[in-house]
Amino acid sequence: MPKYNLQINGSQKTVETESDTPLLYVLRDYLELNGPKFGCGLSQCGACMVLIDGVAETSCSTPIAAVRDSKITTLEGLADQNGNLHPVQEAFIEEQAAQCGYCLNGMVMASVSLLQENPSPTTSEIKEGLELNLCRCCAQTRIIKAVQRAAKNL
């Protein structure tokens, strides 16, 4: 089985797996990370999002062989070295922007990515930026508030 050297949350990891294993399964099953979630495996819901070189992407449809030397950041890797949460994470807590929270990983990752590109998005830009991310508990109005709050605190 091929070996892959990955850069995950600032450290180097080696994983031995089949080349078609999606990144999501590598992160959850091999590296035991909890952030990225399985929701659809079809790039339709955003639950599995991670940052690939700083941009939010679905990890369920990216085979490990395609990752190469990209830098992967998961939810666990957003806090700084002293354990301080990213302003987006803080904002989600302050706004209590979750019910079950299963979608929250994707929401946070997509928001971090959005705010990097557009530090002061309008409400409709936030909505567009999160279009791929589904939330069945329907915490969307709070999630929008959380992104607005994070934009202020960044």
Partner: protein, 739 residues
């Protein structure tokens, strides 16, 4: 009495001599301030069903070694924040700080059997049981402390986990008072409970403790559980409901997919266990190609579904009959309207997951089921095992909104764990299986008829409802679990569950002199069970759309018209409040605001919803701009929690109303993923504003389902206000607007 396998508690009971030495952890803050002593009043009302079934204090509450309190609840966390609500109630009665309370949610053999976590029943049942148990415990702790400290009860106060004398000179924490014992007395009325005006926590917007964990990516969900040596399994579901396995050739599986440890066939049940999760995914995809099935599924034509449902319905049952519907004055104007609702999905964002381990004696199961005790009964019946040999622990999953696939995934894991003992077997469902095999909320037909007298008041009303069951939750009938129908000796469903959910809220809450409600039950073509708010969503959609139509026929303002038919001041208050907050909302051409009201189950919480829409008459495009909800759940436990539930309910029901419908062919469910079954995405999300009317003296009701029923009709009525068109068939799509 319940058994107590929790080791730390056992240890506590054993080691009491050592432990009673004391814990100085909080004593330092004693003298800080003279605490106000909260007033208490005796409670003589009805005790909730949950505590009547488990009425010893220690079934609900135990004191830990360090004097903190551990609460047991048989309910599960579904994202509704029940853990925090229970924590608030317990901390309130015992004057604890919130982090001095731990809450242990459903586990067989540990927590009380509280059935299902459903029907907005967790606060009135579980949280209230905890309140009465905690208040009883408080009284007992006072008595014991007064003996130990040799002082009167009047001279004692509770302070952050200790009972101290008023002067502060002596104090004991709860563990010291109990000296190793637990309080096993019965919870009996009268129970001295804190008066609501002295509440510190209850009614406040207290942040949940689990959200920081979620945000950090800590282990929260069943999907995050990892046991040493755990293996991954998948089940190959049949291609359609009635398919039977004829043949499956495993010979090339091992060479095509690495890591396969076991395949297991039992009747039409096919499972595969692998070392790694993605190997199991690939294995099941491989098996899909080589399995041969005999297919006899024959679903009705989707386009003629409602005719079909009427044709298979049993004779009508009259649910309510007051006055005489047919006797109304022939001079009155009569009106009729018919409404339909398609099959709807729960559509959890996280598909079902179950983990099981058979250790050669006990089958351990981890599940996000809404009812672990009832599920255990179903598992025991399906597996022909003793219930005592199955131990189920509840672990949160993604929000499920009723009976979805959690129990089925647990059953899959249980079957495979028995076939491969000694290892934790984790089964994760795919998105496609989740979409096509979950038990939907049934399709329904509602026909309404009413007559208006010369003063524009309703003199007679008739509701006819065609519905399948809304309650096929696993319990003693194993056939409620999918697997039971596909094993070698398949079992047939024994019955159609509780049917009352179908006509829930079909009898209007308004007072009409003549009222008739008829239910026409059918055994429909698709798998169904409980979906959030059961029949209420469809019934209130029909009733409140019809009320709106009658108001305009009578030439009355829709809110005044409703108020004129209501007697309950709490109901009226929600309508008045919504009028007040929406009346200055500006409206442009093709925009309208619609209203709808309901009291959930006609005897719990109240909600009035307003919706503002903009409709493009040419394209039919509907933009839902804003929604308002005014709620009254009686006494509020957690203000932010209840608002969150209301907001979520309004948006989810709006998604049902505008987008959702399960599609099927003659054989299979066609709605296989989020492209075939669209739900709300961010760009369409309306602004939502929730106002709660707090009534601290009224009974606390749950809020999980309350805001959903009025939402559909509020949107339909807003569309009518905007463009003068009524759409009575859900979902309300652009085609129906222009059609």
């Amino acid at each position: 009495m319940i058994e107590l396998p929790n080791t730390s508690r056992r240890k506590f009971l054993r080691n009491i001599g050592y432990l009673s030495v004391g814990f100085p952890l909080i004593s330092s803050c004693f003298a800080e301030q003279e605490q106000k002593i909260a007033e208490r009043k005796n409670f003589y009302g009805d005790l909730p069903g949950s505590i009547r079934n488990a009425n010893a204090v220690n079934a609900w509450l135990q004191v830990l070694e360090d004097g903190r309190v551990l609460i047991f609840s048989g309910k599960v966390e579904l994202g509704q924040g029940i853990r925090m609500a229970i924590c608030q109630v317990a901390a309130e009665e015992l004057d604890l700080e919130l982090d001095q309370v731990e809450v242990h949610l459903a586990e067989t053999g540990v927590t009380p059997d509280e059935g299902y976590t459903a029907g907005s029943g967790s606060v009135p049942n579980s949280a209230m049981s905890v309140r009465y148990a905690a208040a009883t415990a408080r009284q007992k702790l006072l008595e014991l402390a007064s003996e130990k400290l040799n002082t009167t009860i009047e001279n004692l106060i509770f302070y952050h986990g200790t009972v101290k004398t008023k002067s502060g000179s002596q104090s004991l924490n709860f563990a010291e008072i109990l000296n190793g014992a637990q309080i096993d007395m019965e919870v009996k009325k009268p129970i001295p409970v804190k008066v609501s005006s002295d509440y510190q926590y209850v009614g406040k917007a207290i942040p949940r403790k689990d959200i920081p964990k979620m945000v950090r990516g800590e282990s929260v969900y069943i999907q995050d559980l990892r046991f040493p040596g755990m293996l991954h399994a998948r089940v190959l579901r049949p291609p359609s409901y009635q398919a039977k396995l004829i043949d499956i050739d495993f010979s090339n599986l091992g060479t095509s997919v690495a890591g396969i440890l076991k395949t297991h066939v039992n009747g039409s049940f096919v499972g595969v266990i692998a070392e790694r999760e993605y190997q199991a995914v690939k294995a099941v995809n491989f098996l899909k190609r080589v399995a041969k099935w005999e297919e006899t599924t024959a679903l009705p034509n989707e386009a003629a579904l409602f005719d079909h449902l009427k044709s298979i319905a049993e004779p009508a049952q009259t649910i309510r009959n007051e006055g005489n519907f047919s006797s109304v004055n022939p001079e009155n104007k009569t009106f009729k309207a018919s409404y339909t609702k398609p099959y709807l999905m729960h559509g959890s964002i996280g598909p079902g997951c179950g983990i099981a381990l058979f250790d050669d004696e006990i089958l351990h199961v981890w599940s996000h089921s809404q009812g672990i005790y009832p599920m255990r009964r179903a598992l025991a019946a399906m597996l022909k095992m003793d219930e005592d040999k199955i131990h189920v622990t509840s672990v949160p999953g993604a929000g499920c909104f009723g009976h979805s696939t959690a129990d089925d995934a647990a059953a899959d894991a249980a079957i495979l764990a028995l076939a491969y003992p000694g290892k934790h077997i984790r089964v994760q469902w795919s998105r496609q299986d989740e979409h096509t095999w979950e038990p939907y909320g049934t399709a329904m037909i509602m026909e309404m008829e009413a007559s208006l007298d010369e003063n524009g008041k309703i003199s007679a009303w008739k509701s006819d409802v065609w519905t399948d069951s809304h309650s096929m939750r696993p319990d003693s009938d194993p056939a409620t679990l999918i697997d039971a129908s596909y094993l070698e000796n398949p079992v047939q469903l024994r019955g159609r569950g509780y049917l009352g959910g179908g006509h829930r809220n079909a009898d209007p809450y308004y007072s009409f002199p003549n009222l008739q409600v008829n239910a026409h039950f059918f055994d429909g073509p698709l798998r169904i069970s409980s979906l959030r708010s059961l029949g209420s969503y469809a019934n209130i959609f029909a009733i409140e759309s019809f009320m709106d139509e009658l108001a305009s026929q009578a030439g009355k303002d829709p809110i005044d018209f409703r108020i004129a038919h209501l007697q309950d001041q709490r109901a009226i208050a929600t309508l008045k409040k919504i009028k007040e907050i929406t009346q200055s909302e500006p409206l442009e051409v093709n925009e309208g605001i619609g209203f709808a009201f309901s009291r959930y189950k006609n005897n719990t919480a109240y909600c009035t919803v307003a919706a503002k829409v903009n409709v493009n008459q040419k394209s039919g495009e509907i933009i839902l701009q804003k929604m308002w909800a005014v709620g009254d759940v009686g006494q509020i436990i957690n203000l932010d929690g209840i608002k969150n539930q209301f907001e979520g309910g309004v948006i989810q029901a709006a998604s049902w109303t505008l987008f959702e419908q399960v599609h099927f062919t003659k054989k299979v469910i066609r709605s296989e993923d989020w492209n075939d079954y669209p739900i709300f995405r961010f760009p369409m999300i309306p602004e939502v504003e929730v106002h709660m009317i707090d009534r601290p003296e009224e009974k606390a009701e749950g809020g999980g389902e309350v805001s959903m029923p009025p939402t559909g009709a509020a949107i339909a009525n807003a569309i009518f206000q905007a463009i003068g068109k009524r759409v009575n068939d859900l979902p309300i799509t652009a085609e129906k607007i222009v059609g």
